[in-house]
Amino acid sequence: MSKEVKELVKTIRPGLSLGEYGRVYRDTSAFMKISYGDVIELKGQHYLVLRDESERSFGIEDPKYWVKRCIHLESGDRKILKLVFHEKFTLKLGDLEIPCYRSPRKEARILDLVRGDKRFMQGQSYHDAKGNVVRILDVVRGKRLDHCVFEIEKGHRDYFFQDFPRILGKFMDSCRAIGMLHEKREIHGDIRRDHLWREYKGGRYVWIDFDYAYEFEESPFGLDIFGLGNLLIYLAGKQIYTAANIERIIGERRVKLEENDFSLLYRNRIVNLRKLFPYIPQELNLVFLHFSQGAEVFYETVEEFLRELEPCLDIIIERKEGWS
């Protein structure tokens, strides 16, 4: 078998040498077996596996055996191959536990839907020899947006008036992208900080990973909208604030916090940021408070959310002039 891969590499990409030559897989069902040096063949195209993708959470490297970093031998391009892994798991949001399902079918459908829309990761899907839906993704060359924001070396006020307006403008476009999905009866399903990336070249924001599906009672978009709210609050604050870390942030200034100032789901996170940073416009803060424990009315659509968020950009820019 290793001979087959060796021949393939020699024929298609002669400049490439490997430490190990594995086998060619046309059926990807046993994804745990597929590793470095193996080749996945789909529709006559060959993808040389370099490694399993992994996710870092709580300082621990968590391998995703069904996601392979590859080289497309015919073009030499780097690709990510997501193989079929039907998983049911529990998504924990604060105290809530939500049964979630990993759906290759859903992600493949959305990839078709967003083809050419650079606000989303790009790729296509093919069936392997056993009918598994394999997604072949372009690598997003960039960095998590939240990391980019956190690393801006400025105090909050300077960041808020100098950088945040540009970030907010682009973030709103990312929200519109999610709104477009909803209009087409699709959801992202897993909007969280590590799923919005900023490309190195051009600085475009790109949504990644839309293979989560879940059940809902009446509002199909609630989880996505909550994710957008969380991201907005992070971007406006430049980080997360909790009762435990605000002293370090705001110094000796006294701030009286109440239950309603905290997130509806993450009960230790402060969302009433205006209490920490009084220069945050009331209008923007009111958007944050829709995600607080004190909220009585919730956004049901991205359109509603944006209707209140969009005017805030001009307000911040006006205030910026007032502050300078």
């Binding site: 599906a213 809902f216 009672e217 909220a295």
Partner: protein, 150 residues
């Protein structure tokens, strides 16, 4: 609208049973009432299943359960003194997202003057993330009375 024409929105929950029981106690043995128990199914999305077979099995199970619940609830109402001729049940399978909207459309098209719906204790966070059928009906139902049974 004829307020004596009552639409009870039901599902397999204990709250729905309580709602039916409540209506039976209130209007049982009183003349002129007409009651329909409606069960709306929005089948689980295909995305949640690894294959067609398991999805179809789930859909079959959901439908069988709904029919069983409707039979039980009709039986329950008939024990409250309501005549069988004034009772009906209906099962609606929808593909749209909103069950609440389906209930309100049914109310409007059928000329029901009262909608009755059970409510389970839902936290604010759950309501935000998943939505609440009863809250939506309270907010958007028109030209009818809405009874929420907790």
């Amino acid at each position: 609208m004829n307020y004596k024409k009552i639409l009870i929105a039901a599902d397999a929950s204990e709250n729905a049973r309580r709602a039916v029981d409540y209506v039976g106690r209130i209007v049982g043995r009183s003349p002129g009432f007409e009651i329909t128990v409606l069960y709306v199914i929005r089948h689980a999305e295909r995305d949640l299943f690894p294959d067609d077979k398991s999805w179809q099995a789930r859909k079959r199970h959901e439908k069988e359960e709904a029919l069983h619940v409707l039979r039980e609830l009709k039986e329950l109402l008939s024990t409250k003194g309501l005549e069988r001729g004034t009772l009906s049940t209906d099962l609606l399978e929808i593909t749209d997202f909103s069950i609440a909207q389906a209930i309100m459309d049914y109310q409007k098209n059928g000329g029901f003057g009262t909608i009755v719906v059970g409510r389970r204790g839902m936290s604010k966070a759950e309501e935000f993330l998943f939505g609440s059928i009863s809250n939506k009906i309270v907010h958007y139902a028109k030209n009818c009375a809405v009874w929420i049974i907790e």
